[in-house]
Amino acid sequence: MHTEGKVFKYYDNVDTDVIIPARYLNTSNAKELAEHCMEDIDSDFVKSVNKGDIIVAGHNFGCGSSREHAPIAIMACGVGCVIAKSFARIFYRNAINIGLPILECSDAADEICAGHSVNVNFDTGLITDLTTGKTYSAPPFPKFIQNIISSGGLLAAIKNEGDKKDE
């Protein structure tokens, strides 16, 4: 599995209130949420994001509220992966649970610039900045989490586990 696209770059502590402002949380419809993703800090984001594009950010990405609407909105925009120096823990869980690929990689987060073309291979954790030719390696997920991702999310993994026990 991989994604390839252009980079949108943000700072440290991008919070869930700017990823999807609470004034839009009166719906849980992914498409409606996507229309307002990042609008309070980057009004051009929704207009210019394409399928497979990549968000690169600093420390503590997704801090604040537990709203799963945040990774849902990012995914529904077509974003293929979020690379950050670190993720807030609830956002980390939510992204994994719904199948939004995220990678922690400080060097990549420091060096990759906005607008660069980047390829990410999720199987190997290899991040390639196609604009500069430089490669970065993100640590792989623990097996337990890989299982959630490969099952297609937490609930599917639980269902799979239940089916195995029934057999």
Binding site: N13, D15, D17, V18, P21, A22, R23, L25, N26, T27, S28, D40, I41, H59, N60, C63, G64, S65, S66, R67, E68, H69, P71, I72, S86, A88, R89, I90, R93, N94, N97, I98, P142, F144, G153, L154, L155, A156, I158, K159
Partner: protein, 418 residues
């Protein structure tokens, strides 16, 4: 292996003799919580995955609190999804308008959470219940769905930061000043993935409302949970309230901590977090030049009875400054009723404030006090991110009820002095 208090609760709920930080475990849950924003997403996932039943109808709490009484048609539809689910699964702890309160004030008040519990909630401020000696943490909607179906959740066992409290708070400072001081010291990701374990001889002097406020904002330092030891104050609070017997866990004397942060409570001053991060703390008295348009006193952080009393003592027989809107929101119907009985509501109205039924409304910029461009608000809420309470160019300053009420009288950020 010596364990922290959090690790002991997690080990017990995972059926293990001991756990170490970094270990992935599956733990049994005592309570699974959701609200009118997060539960609809969880319900959708629960139904999409074709789960037939919830694991235990008495161990799930669904509280309509963010946008109720409903602010618009879409919000009403979200509440309806929760209501229908609660009815069809006979959820015993379902709280609709008239019974509801802000979830993190309501669950402890109603005795739904108790010492030794392992709790998840699809709301980041679920960490509040660490105040009663529980392991309690915020998760997302899919985790809530899985928790409702299986009664279990996966966790990575956290390491911990020890927060040693000594001394005694001075008059006119409270739990809010303590937690803002701590976040100012360690930063918004200072406790990322970790537990904040409070201890020390200063704990005994803190009321339960102070502890609930302190644990409530553990997430604002990135923490997985905040937790207080169980003492006489805790047991007195839980007595005749908790629906299950408290189970007392305590950290081993030789438990390992990544670091120790010391706070002398007697040195804590009225503190304010400036825009746009809770870590941007300053003493209130250094901000007397900041002119405010609005004051909000309430929320899961500071909408409890002691907060209402603090506001009453400052606002009674006084007038809110012309040009300042002051919104006071008792966090539960029981607190609201007590405010009516004690004459607080009359005093608030006479002072020129508005008093609302319980809602999270303004705290997250939902409704009931949205800010226009460039406006400034001092609020007893928990976040001051860009656009949190309204327009992206508006500003939120976080403070205690004392500082917020005193500021309402002057129109500027004001440290309360008698």
């Amino acid at each position: 292996m010596p364990m922290t208090m959090t690790q002991k609760i997690l080990a017990a709920h995972a059926g293990l003799d001991s756990v170490v930080s970094g270990q992935l475990i599956e733990a049994k849950l005592d309570i699974v919580l959701g609200n009118d924003i997060t539960a609809p997403v969880a319900i959708k996932e629960f139904e999409k995955a074709c789960f037939d039943n919830v694991f235990d109808r008495d161990r799930i709490a669904i509280v309509l609190d963010h946008f109720v009484p409903n602010k618009d048609i879409k919000a009403a539809e979200q509440s309806k999804i929760c209501r229908n689910f609660a009815n069809s699964h006979c959820i015993s702890h379902f709280y609709d308008v008239g019974k509801m309160g802000i979830e993190h004030a309501l669950l402890p008040e109603q005795g739904i959470v108790t010492a030794g519990d392992c709790i998840i909630g699809a709301d980041s401020h679920t960490c509040t219940y660490g105040a009663v000696g529980a392991f309690s943490t915020g998760v997302g909607s899919t985790d809530m769905a899985a928790g409702m179906a299986t009664g279990k959740a996966w966790f990575k066992v956290p390491s911990a930061i020890k927060v040693e409290l000594t001394g005694k708070l001075k008059k006119n400072t409270g739990g809010k000043d303590v937690i803002l001081t701590l976040i100012g010291k360690i930063g918004v990701d200072g406790a990322l993935y970790k537990s904040l374990e409070f201890c020390g001889d200063g704990v005994a002097s803190l009321s339960m409302d102070d502890r609930l406020c302190i644990c409530n904002m553990a997430i604002e330092a990135g923490a997985k949970n905040g937790i207080f030891p169980v003492d006489d104050v805790t047991l007195a609070y839980l007595d005749n309230r908790a629906e299950r017997s408290p189970v007392i866990y305590s950290a081993d004397n030789d438990a390992e901590y990544e670091k120790t942060v010391r706070i002398n409570l007697s040195e804590v001053v009225p503190t304010v977090s400036c825009p746009h991060l809770p870590e941007n703390t300053r003493p209130a008295k250094e901000l007397s030049h900041v002119k405010i348009d609005q004051v909000v006193i309430g929320s899961c952080t500071n909408g409890r009875m002691e907060d209402m009393t603090a506001a009453y003592n400052i606002l009674k027989e006084k007038k809110i400054k012309d040009g300042v809107r002051c919104i006071i929101i008792p966090a539960t119907m029981q607190i609201m009723r007590e405010c009516v009985e004690k004459g607080y509501v009359t005093a608030f109205i006479d002072a020129g404030a508005v008093v609302s039924t319980p809602t999270c409304g303004p705290c997250l910029g939902g409704y009931m006090g949205i800010l226009a461009s460039g406006e400034k608000c001092i609020a007893t809420t928990n976040r001051n991110f860009v656009g949190r309470m309204g327009h992206p160019s508006s500003e939120v300053y976080l403070a205690s009820p004392q500082t917020a009420a005193a500021s309402a009288l002057t129109g500027y950020i004001t440290e309360y002095t008698e």
